[in-house]
């Protein structure tokens, strides 16, 4: 049943364009990526697992010289397509139509990854970054011990209109890249409910100076009325601001990024959360890249803190990324969590071995 409904949605999305004009060779591009993980953790009650974490199919259809349709479908956790399985899932990650006015202005309409921070546009594209998963600040956070679910401090997806483009600053090569979106936020399942009815706004600006090859600085924001509330207050307006700096040159990669989120807790007291990380990687012999990521999180950053004993915590990840080819990577990562998992349990450590590929 599940397979049938997803196929139907997929067919409905594709067919109007397929019938609109014949798809000639060269008009359709198909690519994608996948990730298979082996995880072992000392968290209570968990066993080691091997997961087909995701297989994603991306297809792109040229509709005219300046417009195209782009979509991405994810098979998560290797779902059983008979429809009897109680695990895994198939979801539509992106489906948008783009119209290019010029390099300075493009419009995208549909479901998109919110252009937020260094990683959200490639949220799951693990072969395009060093680590197994993107940094902890992009994860779902269980802010409060009384909450029965966890949420991101921004919307991973948005469905609506995005205006974006790249502006050249003079003739020296400096650039500004921008993106502004409005639509309905979250567009994913939270607390067993698909949320996409509340208006959301997001924006991102990146500056690449010509005097510093490989360097960029970026700022992002996301705001919406969150139905379930990151801190427990339902239907509150929540905002998150992000700042990031990246420099990759020679064999080095540096990244520093942080977000400051404002929301209300379940007693409707204003609250802020500050989460950040620093990443350093150094590539040896072009193939082997050891890296370290140090993440810090404070779920209760407000001076007017009235909540109880939620303490800041850190996560340190040591990893190795080995490129077997430009499209196939083997990764090994050890995560040391000084935090108490789900805020109040004991500390946890985990090891992940991962194979990721792009095609």
């Amino acid at each position: 049943m599940k397979y049938f409904s997803v196929s139907t949605v997929f067919a409905l999305l594709i067919c109007p364009f397929a019938f609109a004009r014949p798809v000639a060779a060269g008009d359709v591009l198909i690519y994608g990526f996948g990730q298979i993980d082996y995880k072992v953790s000392d968290r209570k009650g968990t066993n080691s697992t091997i997961d087909i974490t995701r297989i994603n199919y991306i297809s792109e259809f040229q509709l005219s010289e300046n417009s195209r349709f782009f979509n991405e479908i994810e098979y998560e956790q290797g779902p059983d397509l008979s429809g009897d399985a109680l695990y895994g899932g198939i979801k539509l990650c992106q489906a948008w139509v783009e119209y290019r006015v010029g390099p300075e202005l493009r419009f995208n309409f549909g479901k998109v990854y919110t252009n937020f921070g260094l990683y959200n546009l490639v949220h799951d594209v693990t072969p395009s970054f060093l680590q197994v998963d993107i940094p902890f600040m992009y994860s779902r956070h269980k802010i409060d011990k009384d909450s029965s679910f966890s949420q991101r401090l921004y919307g991973k997806y948005m469905t609506g209109l995005t205006a974006n483009g790249t502006l050249d600053l003079g003739s020296d090569g400096s650039q500004i890249e921008y993106s502004f979106s409005f639509g309905v936020g979250r567009s994913e399942i939270v607390n067993d409910e698909f949320i996409n009815e509340n208006t959301s706004y997001a924006g991102r600006i990146i500056y690449r100076p010509s005097f510093l090859p490989g360097g960029q600085i970026g700022a992002s924001f996301y705001t919406d009325r969150n139905k379930f509330g990151a801190g427990g207050a339902a239907n509150g307006i929540e905002s998150t601001f992000g700042l990031d700096i990246q420099h990759q040159y020679g064999s080095y990669l540096f990244q520093i990024e942080s977000i400051l989120a404002s929301f209300a807790d379940y007693k409707n007291n204003p609250r802020k959360a500050l989460i950040g990380y620093a990443l350093f990687g150094y590539t040896l012999w072009d193939n082997l890249t050891p890296y370290i990521i140090y993440s810090l999180a404070d779920y209760n950053f407000s001076p007017e803190n009235t909540a109880d004993d939620v303490k800041p915590f850190s996560v340190v990840n040591f990893g190795l990324n080995y490129a077997l080819s430009s499209q196939l990577f083997i990764k090994a990562e050890i995560g040391l969590h000084s935090r108490k998992a789900n805020v109040y349990e004991e500390n946890i450590n985990e090891l992940i071995l991962s194979v990721s590929f792009a095609y």
């Binding site: 300046n66 390099p103 490639v122 970054f129 650039q175 690449r208 490989g214 420099h247 072009d286 792009a358």
Partner: protein, 154 residues
């Protein structure tokens, strides 16, 4: 107390990176003349500066001024010519360049690069595709349909 501590650590991390970047000694790309940046003769672009070329080859710039998508063509990662150009001009390892392009492609920002194992096929592709751009060794004999993009000094 813990607020100041977390905030302080994050601010210190930003300051450390800023100091590293400011003290960063940019090496000059002295060997770029060993390479020719080439496009199809129908392409109206005549010259680029080094930063603009870098932005194109790393998919920060994804369309030509006429709004057509840029098609990067390159050698496979193991090829000497690619290694040399990546390290001497782009100042990145070839696999790092691939990862950067992969990120842009799978995010829907740029066309996937066309990868070739030999120079003849690469040049043949550019000679037939108006929006393609590639880099070849400066001692290459170029077909008539291909022109060299002049690299400005600044």
């Amino acid at each position: 107390m813990h607020i100041k501590s977390t905030y302080g650590n994050i601010v210190r991390a930003y300051i450390l990176l800023a100091v590293l970047l400011l003290s960063f000694n940019r090496a000059n790309a002295q060997n770029e003349q060993k390479f020719y940046c080439v496009v199809n003769k129908k392409n109206s672009v005549k010259s680029l500066n080094k930063v603009q070329l870098r932005n194109i080859l790393l998919a920060n710039t994804t369309t030509w001024r006429n709004n057509k998508k840029i098609q990067i063509v390159d050698f496979s990662v193991g090829k000497k010519a690619r290694k040399k150009f990546s390290s001497e001009f782009l100042k990145l390892t070839p696999n790092r360049v691939s990862m950067i392009r992969l990120k842009k492609t799978l995010a829907g920002k740029a066309l996937a690069p066309k990868i070739f194992h030999n120079q003849e096929d690469l040049l043949d592709y550019i000679s037939k595709n108006e929006h393609a751009i590639g880099v070849v060794s400066s001692n290459t004999d170029l077909p008539e349909e291909i022109k060299i993009i002049y690299l400005e000094k600044k």
